[in-house]
Symmetry: none
Amino acid sequence: MRQKSPAQRNGDRGGNRRSPGRPRSEQARVAILRSALKLLGDNGFSDLTIESVAAHANVGKATVYRWWPNKAALIADAFASSTTRKLRFPDAGSVYTDMSQQMRQLIKIFRSRRGRIVSAILAAGQRDRDVIAAFRERFLKPRRQEAYETLRRGIARGELRSDVDMDLLLDSLYGPIYMRFLIRHDELTPEFVDRLCQLVLSGAREA
Amino acid sequence: MRQKSPAQRNGDRGGNRRSPGRPRSEQARVAILRSALKLLGDNGFSDLTIESVAAHANVGKATVYRWWPNKAALIADAFASSTTRKLRFPDAGSVYTDMSQQMRQLIKIFRSRRGRIVSAILAAGQRDRDVIAAFRERFLKPRRQEAYETLRRGIARGELRSDVDMDLLLDSLYGPIYMRFLIRHDELTPEFVDRLCQLVLSGAREA
Amino acid sequence: MRQKSPAQRNGDRGGNRRSPGRPRSEQARVAILRSALKLLGDNGFSDLTIESVAAHANVGKATVYRWWPNKAALIADAFASSTTRKLRFPDAGSVYTDMSQQMRQLIKIFRSRRGRIVSAILAAGQRDRDVIAAFRERFLKPRRQEAYETLRRGIARGELRSDVDMDLLLDSLYGPIYMRFLIRHDELTPEFVDRLCQLVLSGAREA
Amino acid sequence: MRQKSPAQRNGDRGGNRRSPGRPRSEQARVAILRSALKLLGDNGFSDLTIESVAAHANVGKATVYRWWPNKAALIADAFASSTTRKLRFPDAGSVYTDMSQQMRQLIKIFRSRRGRIVSAILAAGQRDRDVIAAFRERFLKPRRQEAYETLRRGIARGELRSDVDMDLLLDSLYGPIYMRFLIRHDELTPEFVDRLCQLVLSGAREA
DNA sequence: CAATAATCGAGACGGTACGTCACGTCTTCTT
DNA sequence: AAGAAGACGTGACGTACCGTCTCGATTATTG
C-alpha cells in the first residue's frame, strides 16, 4: 500500500476501535487521486506538481503530504486505484485467440491517453522502487493470474507443452509490447500482436 | 546532433574560416559529459541537475546551456558519447549461440552500474522524445544492424524460416529482457536468456 | 477580562443557575496558562505557538481557541495570572530608601528568567493593544498605586515638593530602567538604581 | 552590519580586485529596503512577510534571503538605512532648550507613522539581539554622541555639575519617553517633555 | 434514570508563509 | 568570442502553524 494506513499511524491496538480525532476525508482522498490522474494524462509527468494537484482538488497541500510521502507514491496510488476493467481474458476456445484478444486491448490502452500515465509510472518507477512495485502488484500481477488460467486451459487442451514455463512465455508475449511502447522504434498494431502470438506460441506448442 | 554546432551559432559563412573569438573548450565539453554520466550512474536521474553537473565539471552553468538546450539533450549526448563496446555479435555457427551469447552480455550491462544510466535514459525518454530517439539511434539501431547479419546467416544455414520477420523476432528476443529490466518482476539470469532464445527461436524455425 | 466568560457564551440567563453541560475544566485552564508562561520564558515569543502550548498542556488545540481569541489574549492572561510577589514597597522612613529598594527588586526580576516573559509581553504589546493594556492594568497600575502612597508619605515628610507631578516623577524613575531593559545599551545594576534615584529625587525636592 | 558583505562571501583577498561574477544589483537592494519600510509602516510587523516584501519590490524571494538571514535583519537594515536627519541637537545657549528641543522632535517622530517602525524594531529586538544591536548602533549611539556635546557645553557653562554621569542623565531624560512610547500609559506631549527636562536637569545642576 | 448539552482530547481539514533549491538568463571580469 | 563566477526573477519543494472542523468520550444539569 502506498498510503499510510490509519493503523500505521495509530499503532493499531488490535480492537476495531476507531482512532480518535477527525477521520480522514474520503472526499479529499478521491479528489486528490482523480486530479493526479487527470493532470498526468493532460500534461505528462513534468507538469504534475503536488501544488497543482492540491489546487485542482481544492485541497490543502499538507493534506496531500499527510497521506503520500512523495509524488511517485501519489502517482502509483492514483494509477492503482484506477486499474482498468477492460483487460479481461476471454475464453474463446484457443490460447491464440484468448491471448491475442487481450493483448489487442492492452495496446489500445497503451496508444490512448492512458498510455501517458503508464509510461509516466514506468519512468517514475526507475527512480523509485515503490512506484514500480505498485505497478507490479496492482497492475501486472492481477492480470498475470488470469493469464495463467488461460495458459492452463491451453495445456489441458493440448495446445501447449505441459512443461511450459508460463512466466517465460508471458514475458515473451508482453515484453515486445512493452519494449515497443517505451522505445517507440516500431508500431504497436493489432497485426504485430497477431504475428507475435503466432511466433511465440508456436515455440511453446506440444512437440 | 544534440549539440548546437558552432556553425549553427555563427551563421556558417561558407568558407572553412574558423569563426573569430576563443574556440570552444574541448576540455569543458568532455568534463561536462563525463560528469553527467557519473552523476547519472551514482544517484539516478533525480540528482542530475544542470547545477550539479556544472559544479562537478568545474564549469560555468552558462557553458552547459550554451551547448545543450536542456537536460534531456545533455543526457542523450552523454549516453551517446559513451558507446558501449563488448556488445559484439559472435559468429559461432548457430543463431542460438550467437544470439544468446550477445544477450548474456547485454544483461550483464543491465545489471551493472551502467544499467542505472540506461534505465535513467529510458525514463527520461518517456518525457522527451529526443532522448528516446538518441537511445534508438545511438544504441539500439547499430546493434540491430549487426543482429540482422546474424539472423541472415541463420536463414542461409536453414536454421530460420526464410520469410521470418526479423524485427518481430528481435523484439521477441529483446523485449522480455527490457521488460524484466524495467519492471523488475523477475530475474535477469543467463538461464533466462537461454530458455528465452530456445522458446522464441524454435517458433522461427523452418517448418 | 481576556477570557470569554461562560456567561457570555451561554447568554447568562440571569439566575446563578449553572448552565447545563460539562463545565469548563479548571485543570485544562491552568495547564494552558502554565504552559504558555513556561514556553515564553524558555524560548521567547517566537516559540510560543498555540500548537506547542496545547501539546505541552496535553490539551486539544480547540480548547485553547474556545477560551482565548488569539495568542495575544492568551499571553496577556497568562502574564496576568502570574501575579508577581516581591514587589512590595517598604516603608523605611525616606522616599529614597523606599523607592530604591523596590526598584532594586524590579531589576532583579528583569534580569531573571521572568524578564524574558516581561520583554516578550512588551514586544507582543507593540502589535496588540490588548496585550499592552493587560500589562498596564495587571502589572503597572497596581504597583503605581502603591508608589503613590510612598510618594505621598515623602511629601508629608517634606522630602518632596508638595506640587510634584507624581506620574512624571515615577516615569522618570522607572523609564530609564525599562529603557535599559529593552535596548540593553547599558547595565541594570543596583548602583545604577541608586544613582538614578538620587538624580531624579534631588530634582523633586522641596526648593 | 546586517548584510552579508561581498568581502565575507568571497574571502576578501585583500586587493581591491572585484570579485568575479555578476555584481549585486543595487536597484534590488534599495527596492527591498524601501518595500520593507513601507510595509512595516503600513501594516505593522505581522503583515511584513518576506514574500510580500519580495513581491512589492519586484524581486525574487531568494534575492532577499541571499542577503538577509531573516526578517529581523532585514528590518534592522531597512531602519538603519533610513535614519532620520531631523534629530539634530540645536545650540541655543542652554542645556534645557537644546535638549527639550531635540526631545520634542523625537516624540514627533514617535507619534508619526515612523513610530510604528520604531516600535516594531524594538519588539523584534526582544527576540533577536542583532536587531536591537542594530538599533543601538545605527540609531541610538550616533545621537548620543551629539548629546554628549550638548551636555559638555552645559558643564562648561556651569549649568550642570562637572562630575555629572552623562549616560545616567541621558537615560533619565530619554527613558521616560521610551517607556511612555512603548507602554502607552500616558501621553507623549511637548509639555511632558518640558517638565521632564526641568525635573531631571534640576537634579543635575551645580550644587 | 434517561435525555440533553457542553466540554474534553485528538487529529484531519483548507490555507498561508516559511526558507531552500534548481531553473534558465543575465552581467561582470578574464582568457 | 568563450570561459568561470555568481546574482537575478521565477516557481515548486516539503514543513510548520494557523484557526476551523468533526469525531468518540466524558461530565454535568434537567425532565
